[in-house]
């Protein structure tokens, strides 16, 4: 059957395309932005000991064993933790691997003294909707997002972390 396209058809096809586009945009939009409160970590069934972050400056980092920039980020976060933990910095790294064994292998080769949690059901990460791996949120002492880092870019990110953390710890 041959359908002749008049203006009416065209308008309806445009509507279909617009609805699909909006659906795609809404599905990929990151809901959290600077100034928003970060979700309560205790609400998502995370595995591991959730620290008390009341009144602390917190770096929440999402990582996975298969993510190469995450491997680079760990020594940097470890150094930051050692330098600033006495002043009130808490680092919480949240793993999103499917298998715990992969996370364990990763942590053997990238040891960390800061808090490691596991989002086995991907509940938290699905709510936060990070746009890339790794992603990290720096929270101020009131629990609000002070800075967001998309990916880890080596020295550039290390400098930004340092500046932002020092400013928040003052």
């Amino acid at each position: 059957m041959i359908i002749s396209f008049n203006k009416n058809h065209k308008a309806k096809l445009v509507t279909v395309a617009a609805v699909q586009f909006l659906t795609a945009v809404l599905a990929t939009a990151a809901p959290l932005k600077e100034g928003d409160p970060f979700p309560d970590l205790k609400q998502f069934g995370l595995e591991g000991h959730i620290p008390d972050i009341q009144g602390k400056v917190v770096l929440v980092d999402f990582f996975a064993s298969w993510c190469h920039p995450c491997q680079e980020s760990f020594p940097v976060m470890e150094a930051l933790y050692k330098k600033y933990s006495d002043q009130g910095l808490v680092i919480v790294a949240i793993n999103v691997d499917k298998n715990q064994a992969d996370m364990d292998d990763f942590l053997k080769s990238h040891p960390a003294d800061f808090v490691i949690l596991r989002d086995a059901g991907n509940k938290l990460v699905s709510q936060v909707k990070i746009p890339t791996m790794p992603s990290s949120f720096l929270l101020d002492r009131t629990g609000k997002i002070s800075a967001f880092h998309r990916g880890f870019k080596g020295e550039e990110t290390r400098k930004e972390y340092t500046q932002e953390i020092e400013a928040l710890l003052k």
Binding site: K12, V16, V19, K153
Partner: protein, 73 residues
């Protein structure tokens, strides 16, 4: 041909709900990031093919990005 509104709305809903598209979220790309997913695991072979296409067909590039596709950074 007239388009009736009810079938059109059903079609509109179906096109949104029944299409085969799925967004692989950044945190779900463990399998895609596996080295086994890299199409160019034979560097010498890839180089030879690339050279052949460049020489015979004046074509090069277009072989995607490096890595397995984890979309990191």
């Amino acid at each position: 041909m007239k388009i009736r509104p009810v079938p059109f709305l059903v079609l509109l809903a179906a096109s949104g709900l029944l299409n085969g598209c799925a967004n692989v979220q950044p945190w779900e790309r463990g399998n895609l990031a596996d080295p086994a997913m890299d199409g160019g695991r034979d560097p010498l072979g890839s180089m030879m093919s690339e050279h052949m296409w460049f020489s015979r067909e004046a074509a090069s590039g277009g072989r995607g990005v490096g890595g397995g596709g984890c979309g990191c950074n």
